[in-house]
Symmetry: C2
Subunit: 349 residues, 2 copies
C-alpha cells in the first residue's frame, strides 16, 4: 500500500484533511513522570514516578527547577526503556517559559539532538505526534517526547508575581508543577501511537487569560471533529477522548460545542486538568493546566491504562492557549490549538 | 532498500549519529521573502519579493507587524507554488517572540494545521528539516516552513527599549526585520532537500547576549562535524556551507574551531548575517541575525542560486542562541544550536 504522494516514498497514509494513519503502529517503549508536592497530594499521587517535596528541585530559581525536572524525567524514561541516551536519535521538547529555556537547560547534558517546540499546553501532543512521525518515517530508531511546566515559573511568565497574592477567579486553572516524558520506537510493546490529527489555530475572540478553558475549547472541538471525520469514526470508536487542560469551564464548553456538531461525548470525555487535582479539596478552581499537566497525566495514568488493556483506544488531545504577556497586554485575543494523537493497546492486534 | 528500524516502515535512511538521507529528494516548490527597509537597502535588496517601507507593516505594534509579515510571506509562497492553501497539510513555523505569538497571530487566518517551533535563530533549519521529513514520510503532499523576526520586537524582547538608545558593542548583531517561507512537496523541481543533520545543544559557557556569534559558533562547528562524519564527506562535497547568523565574530570563531578539527572551510563558508547587510555602510556591526535573517536569505538568494545550478549542493545551517531575558538576568549561560539541511540542485540527478 503506497501513499498518494509524489516526492518521497512512504507506507504511511494521509487521512482526510488533517490526519495521518501510521502503517506500522509506533510503540511507546517507556514513560516517566516527575511532579511537585501539590500534584503528589492529588488523586493521581500514587501513579507518578517521582514526587519532589522541594519546589525548587534543589536549584536557585523556578526556571532552573523546571529544567531539573526535565533532566530527571528524561533520565527516568531512558532507564525504564532500557536504552542508552546515545540510542536516542532526537528529542522533541517544550515548555511554557519564554524562548523555551526550561528545555534548553534541561536537555543539554543529555547531548542528543533536540527539536524544541512551542504549542503552549498542547506541546506534549505536538511532541508525541512528531516523535511518532520521526520513528514511522525511518528517521529514528528511538525518539523522545518531553514537556514540563512549573506553577511558579508560569505565574511569573504569564500573570502576577507570587508575592502579590492576587485573587484568582473560579475560571482560572492551576499550572501543574510537573514533567512527563515518553520514549517511542523499538520492537513490539503493549501500547503504540497509531495515528495523528494535526491541530489548527482557532480563535473565537476570547481575551481572558484567567479563563483559558474557554479559549481552548473551540480548538479541541475543531481537532476532535476533524479526527472523527478524517477517519470516518463515531465517538464510540474511542474508549476515552482526553483533552489536556480545559478544566471544568472548558469541558462544559467543549461538550456544548460538540453537541451542536451532533457529537455526544458524555461519559467518554476526560481532561488531564480534571484528573490531576481534586478541585474541591485542593482549591485549584477550574483544574490543572500547563505543558506538564497533560504530559505527566499521560505518562503516569493514561498510558498505563492503555498498556493494561483497560482502554483499547484513546484520542489524547493536549490543548494550548496561544498567548504571551505582551500579546495579552496589547489587547490581543487568545487563540487555541489542540494536537491529537491516537494511542492504542496492541494486545488484540 | 529498507531502513534498519523495527517499528514503522520507511525507505528513508539514518546516517551516522545525527543525520538522515531521504530516499527521494523532497522538492522545494516555492519560496518567498518579505523584509523591512534597511534589509532592502542591503546587498540582497534586489532579491527580495517585497520590501516594506513601513516598519509597522500597517499595524499598531511591532508584534503585530511581525505577524503581518508572516501572513504576507506565506500568501506569496503559496501563490508562487500555484497551490491553494487547502493543499497545505501542515506548516512548521516559528519566531523569536515569547510564546511564538508572531506565528500564532500570523498564521491563524490560513486555517491550516500548524506545528510551532522554537529554535531561536535556528528555527528555519528546524522548520525546513521537519517539513522535509513530513513530506518524505508520506504525511503531507505539501508542507510549509516559515519564520520571522523584527528588529523592534526582538530588541524589546531580549535587550533594551528602543527609546533608551543603548550603545551596541561591535560584537553585537542587528536583528533582521524579515520573514522567509518555503513550500515543500509536489513533483520534480529544480532544488530539493536531500538530507538533514539534527542539532545538539552546545554550551561553551559564554554569557554575553551582545556577542551571540560566539555563543552559537561551537554549535555550528558541532553540527558541521557531525554532518561530514555521518555522510563520510569532506568539506569539498559542498559548494557552500552557509550558517545562519554568526556574523563576523562568530565566523572567525567557527573557522578556528573547525581548523582544530582538521576541517578547512576557507572560501566555502558564508553566513546569512554577513550576506544581508553591508556592515561597514549600514552600521550593523557584526552582521544580521534573527529567525527572519536566514529564512529571508535562503528564500531570496540561496535557493535561487541552487535552482540555477550555480551551487550544486549546499549545507544550510541556521544557528540559534538559546537565551531569554529571564535566563540572561539569572546569570545563565547562552547555549547554541545549529540545525543542518542539505539542499541540492536536481538538474544533474
Amino acid at each position: 500500500m503506497s501513499s498518494e504522494m509524489d516526492g518521497g516514498v512512504g507506507m504511511n497514509q494521509m487521512r482526510g484533511e488533517q490526519s495521518i494513519c501510521f502503517e506500522q503502529p509506533v510503540p511507546i517503549l517507556s514513560s516517566a513522570s516527575v511532579v511537585g508536592k501539590k500534584e503528589g497530594e492529588g488523586p493521581l499521587g500514587s501513579c507518578f514516578d517521582c514526587i519532589q517535596e522541594d519546589p525548587t528541585f534543589g536549584e536557585d530559581n523556578w526556571e532552573s527547577a523546571e529544567s531539573a525536572m526535565q533532566k530527571e524525567v528524561m533520565e527516568r524514561a531512558l532507564a525504564k526503556a532500557g536504552i542508552r541516551k546515545e540510542d536516542l536519535r532526537m528529542i522533541f521538547s517544550g515548555d511554557l517559559q519564554a524562548q523555551s529555556v526550561a528545555s534548553s537547560f534541561g536537555l543539554q547534558e543529555l547531548g542528543r539532538p533536540v527539536y524544541q517546540l512551542y504549542g503552549a499546553c498542547s506541546t506534549m501532543g505536538e511532541a508525541l505526534g512528531l516523535a511518532a512521525m520521526a520513528v514511522a518515517g525511518g528517521y529514528a530508531l528511538y525518539a523522545g517526547a518531553v514537556t514540563s511546566s512549573h506553577f511558579a515559573s508560569a505565574e511569573k511568565e504569564f500573570r502576577f508575581p507570587l508575592e502579590y497574592g492576587n485573587q484568582r477567579p473560579l475560571s482560572a486553572t492551576w499550572t501543574v508543577t510537573g514533567s512527563g516524558a515518553c520514549i517511542l520506537g523499538g520492537g513490539k510493546k503493549k501500547a503504540a501511537v497509531t495515528g495523528v490529527t494535526s491541530g489548527r489555530i482557532i480563535d473565537y475572540g476570547y481575551k481572558d487569560s484567567l479563563n483559558m478553558g474557554a479559549c481552548m475549547a473551540p480548538a479541541a472541538c475543531d481537532t476532535i471533529c476533524h479526527n472523527l471525520r478524517d477517519f470516518g469514526y463515531g465517538p464510540e470508536e474511542y474508549d476515552q477522548i482526553i483533552t489536556g487542560d480545559l478544566g471544568e469551564v472548558g469541558q462544559t464548553i467543549l461538550l456544548d460545542l460538540l453537541r451542536k456538531e451532533g457529537i455526544d461525548l458524555e461519559g467518554r470525555h476526560s481532561d488531564c486538568g480534571l484528573l490531576i487535582f481534586d478541585n474541591e479539596k485542593q482549591d485549584t478552581h477550574s483544574g490543572g493546566s500547563g505543558c506538564g499537566c497533560s504530559a505527566a497525566v499521560f505518562a503516569s495514568y493514561i498510558l498505563p491504562k492503555i498498556e493494561r488493556g483497560e482502554w483499547k483506544k484513546v484520542l489524547f488531545l493536549p490543548t494550548g492557549a496561544l498567548l504571551s504577556k505582551v500579546s495579552y497586554n496589547e489587547g490581543r485575543t487568545i487563540p487555541g490549538i489542540a494536537q491529537g494523537v491516537i494511542v492504542e493497546c496492541l494486545e488484540e492486534r
